[in-house]
Amino acid sequence: MLTYTIRRIFQTIPVLIGVTILVFSLMHLIPGDPAQIIAGEQANQEQVEQMRERLGLNEPLPVQYWNFVSGAVQGDLGNSIRSGRAVSSEIGARFWVTVELALYSTILSIFIGLIAGIISATKRGTVTDSLIMIVALFGLSMPNFWLGLMLIQYFSLGFGWFPVSGWGSPQQLVLPVITLGTAGAAIIARMTRSSMLEVIHADYIRTARAKGVKERYVIYKHALRNALIPVVTVVGLQFGALLGGAVLTETVFAINGLGRFVVDAIRMRDFPIVQGSVLVLALMFVVVNFLVDISYRFLNKRIELD
C-alpha cells in the first residue's frame, strides 16, 4: 500500500507539470499582445512596455515559465491587476467558500444518491424503482441555475423559509447545497443502482444467504460494500466537477466564492487572478483524484497491494 501510494504520488508529477504549462500558456494564448490587452486600449506605447516589463513578458519563454512555477511553489502567484493585492490572498478566502459548498453538496449527493440507489435496486422493476429513476433523470437533466432560481422563487420568496442569497449561516447553506448537489445525487443514485444490481447476483451474496444472514445485512453489509467500489470513483469525479461547476450556483445565490470570482476576473481581464484560480482548482482536482485512487485501493481488496 505504501509503495503504491508513493508510486501514485510520483505519477502526479507529470500531471502537475502539464497543468502548470497549460495555466502558464493561458497568458500567451490570448490573441494579440497580452501586455497591450492588460494595459488597456487607451494605454500608450510606453505604458504597454511598462506592463510588459512588470509582467516579465520580455524574458525568454522558459525563463518566464520558471519564474511562474518557482513563484507558485512559494505561494506567489503575482498581483491582481485591478486591486494590486497578492493573488494568493485574493483567492484564499473565496477558495474555502467554494470548497465548503462543493463538500456539503457532495455529502448531500452521496447521502441521497446512495439511499435512492439502494432502494431502487432492491425494489427493481417496481413502481418505486421507476419513480426514483424518473426523478433521477430529472435531477440529472435540470440545469442547476434554473433549479436554483426555482428554489429561490418558492422557498425564499414564496414561503420565506430561507434567505435569497449569501453564504455563512446554516439557513444560507440549504438552497445552494441542494442546487449544486442534485445532479450529483442523481448520478450517484443511478450508479449505485446498477452497481448493486450487478453485485446482488454475485455468488458470494448467495453464500451469505445460504449462511442464514438476514436480508437487510445481505444488502447493507455484503452487497453494499462491494457495490460502493465503482461509486467511489464517481463521487471523486463529482467533487472535482462541483468545484469547477459552482460558478452558476454562486452567481445565482450571490455567494462570494472562487467560481464567481474567476468569472469576474475573466470579464475584467485580470489574468494573474485567472491563472492563479485555475491553478488552484486544477491542483484540487489532482488531489481529489489521488485520494479517490487510494480509497479505491483500500476498498477493493482484490487489487494487489504491492
Binding site: 509503495t3 508513493i6 508510486r7 510520483f10 504491492d306
Partner: protein, 336 residues
Amino acid sequence: MTTELLQVKNLKQYFPIKGGLLGRKINDVKAVDDISFSIKAGETLSIVGESGCGKSTTGRAILRLDEPTAGEIHFQGDDLLSLNKKEMRKKRKDLQIIFQDPYASINPRQTVRQVLNEAMEIQNVLPKEQRYDRMIELLETVGLGPDKLDRFPHEFSGGQRQRIGIARALAVDPKLIICDESVSALDVSIQAQVLNLLKKLQREFDLTYLFISHDLGVVRHISDRVVVMYLGKIVEIGDKKSLFDNPKHPYTKTLLSAIPVPDPKRKKDQIILKGDVPSPIDPPTGCRFHTRCPFATERCVTEVPELRNTTGMKNGHESACHYIEEIESGEMKPKY
C-alpha cells in the same frame, strides 16, 4: 525423422512481472521452461496437466500467439520462430487451433457463412465460386445441416458451436490442429459426439492433433502418445498404453490415482497429494515436484532430473525422475 511434422526444441515461455516503484520487470512467470517434444504426421499427441502447468501456453507458443522467449519450433522443415509475420501468416493455413469456449472465439455478429468464408478468404484457399459448395460440404463433415449456414453463433448449443469451430479450422485444409481443452466445457453426452467426430476427421483428412486437456479420460481415448507436464516442465512422455498402464513418475501416478472412477467397486488406494501447486514465479529448485512428492530426497531438491528411459520401460517412454528404479522395486517407500 522424416515423419516428424512438428518438433519443439528447448521451448521457453516467460511472462515478465512488472512492479516496484518504477514498474520495472522484477521477475518472470516461467510458464514453460525448456521443453522438447515432437509430433509425427498423423498422430495425436496430448499434453495433460493441471492448471498452471503450461500446457495451453505451449499450444499458444507453437502458433506464436504469444512470442516464445527461447527455443525452436520446426514445422515441416521451417523454424516457425524465424519466420517473419507474412510468412507466419501463410503457415497458419497448416496450423489451426480450436479453443475451449467456441463462443468466445467466434465473432458473435458473424453468421456461420461469414465465419467460414473469412477463414478461406484470409488463406485464399479456394476461388470464390467454389466456396459455397465447400461450406456446405464442411458443415456436413462436422454433422450440421446446410440450413445452419446463415445462423448466428448464439443460435447454437455448446456442442454445435464447437462443431462450427472445427469446421472453421478444417476450412483451410490444415495439417496440424491444436485442440486446446476443446471438449472440456461440453456435457458428457455431447463431449462423446465431438470426440468421435475428431477421430473420424483425423482418419478422413490425415490430420495431426496436438490435444491439450486436463481430462485424462478424454486423453486416453483420443491420443497415441501423451506428455505430462508439471509447472512448466515435462515430467513424463510415452505412448498412451505404456504411460497409462505403467506410469513411472510419482506425479503421473498421483494424477491417475486422483481421478474418480465411475465404478464403486474399484475403491482404490488414492494417493492424496499435500498442498497446492507452487507458484511458477519462483518454482522449486531441482525437481519441481519435490515439494509435494512422497518420495522426495535431498537430491531432488538440488538436482534437476532429466527425461530418461530405463529397463522395464517401452521404447519412447521417458520419465524425469531420479528414482524410477528404486520406486519400482519397492526399495523406496512413500513418506506419506
